[in-house]
């Protein structure tokens, strides 16, 4: 059994206007299917322990939760060590229902951006309205940061969590670090 590691070994940059930190190993399961089907909803809820969020929403507590990815896709977050059990149980409970549950934990990297200027840092990189009236806790968005696709949600009023492809982890971490350089606060929000 190989020892699982995150893409950047827990990289941290706390020197700037917002703290950037790689999230420790995070279990992620892609669940695709008809989100209105009770079997699909039940599979998602049983693994994450929370209700299925509506479009554009994430329902996360700690390292568990559900994120609304598209009209036929949820991202299930759970502790890294529980992934294979959850996938097996989801597949068993889904049975013949037309759906897909796959472990994608090691295909992704995740970062947090925290601090009073977190919105500034995010707004420099993604073409999204980050005004506090427009983007709030619990909202989830798939978009791009500079040149790569990402998804993120607000964990609370000054903290974002970002998910990107593992192969682009260094690019995203460096982007965030540059956008968070000292003296670069825009303070527009």
């Amino acid at each position: 059994m190989s020892k699982a590691v995150t893409a950047l070994g827990g990289a941290v940059n706390a020197d700037g206007i917002a703290a950037i930190a790689e999230v420790p190993l995070q279990g992620m399961i892609t669940l695709r299917g008809d989100l209105a089907a009770s079997a699909v909803k039940a599979a998602a809820q049983s693994a994450a322990g929370v209700a299925v969020p509506g479009p554009g929403q994430a329902n996360c507590t700690g390292d568990s939760g559900l994120c609304w990815m598209s009209p036929d896709e949820l991202l299930v977050l759970c502790p890294y060590g529980d992934v294979s059990d959850h996938v097996q149980r989801m597949q068993d409970s889904l049975g013949d229902v037309h759906a897909l549950a796959v472990d994608v934990s090691d295909a992704r990297a995740s970062f947090t951006v925290t601090g009073p200027h977190a919105r500034d840092v995010m707004a420099k990189l993604a073409p999204v309205d980050f005004h506090p009236d427009a983007f709030q806790s619990g909202m989830f968005r798939r978009t791009r940061m500079a040149q790569v696709p990402v998804a993120f949600w607000m964990r609370d009023s000054d903290s974002f969590q970002i998910i990107c492809f593992r192969s682009q982890a260094r690019y995203v971490f460096d982007l965030l670090s540059v956008a968070a350089q000292n003296g670069s606060a825009v303070s527009i929000f």
Binding site: P55, G56, M69, S70, P71, E73, P127, V128, R141, R142, T143, R144, P149
Partner: protein
């Protein structure tokens, strides 16, 4: 810059979050079709100054395809609608008529 609203996930974003997929509502002609039909399917496209209908994909978002009606001169987006249809909805055509009286595109007007 175009501001598009994805009818699949509801996100309104600027065009860099999307990818253009060419002209809308093409009829596919494949093996067994006449040379003229096949040629027009492959090569012949509208090139309007004004109202145009296109396919777009929400490539940095939900990943779904959809249709958009827009103006090629002002970049105004008249509306978006699902991919699973052969023609734009009548309400959208009416809305375009209100803004661009006398518009036409292929057989539509």
């Amino acid at each position: 810059m175009l501001i598009l609203t994805c009818p699949c996930c509801g996100v309104t974003g600027e065009e860099t979050e999307f990818h253009a997929g060419g002209e809308a509502h093409l009829t596919r002609f494949g093996p067994g079709s006449t040379d003229d039909d096949f040629e027009s399917y492959l090569f012949m496209r509208e090139n309007p100054k004004g109202v145009h209908f296109e396919r777009w994909r929400h490539v940095y978002g939900c990943g779904k395809w959809f249709h958009a009606a827009r103006c090629t001169t002002t970049l105004e987006v008249f509306g978006t609608y699902p991919a699973q249809t052969l023609a734009p909805p009548q309400e959208l055509c009416d809305a375009i008529s209100a803004k661009r009286p006398g518009w036409s595109w292929r057989a539509l007007s």
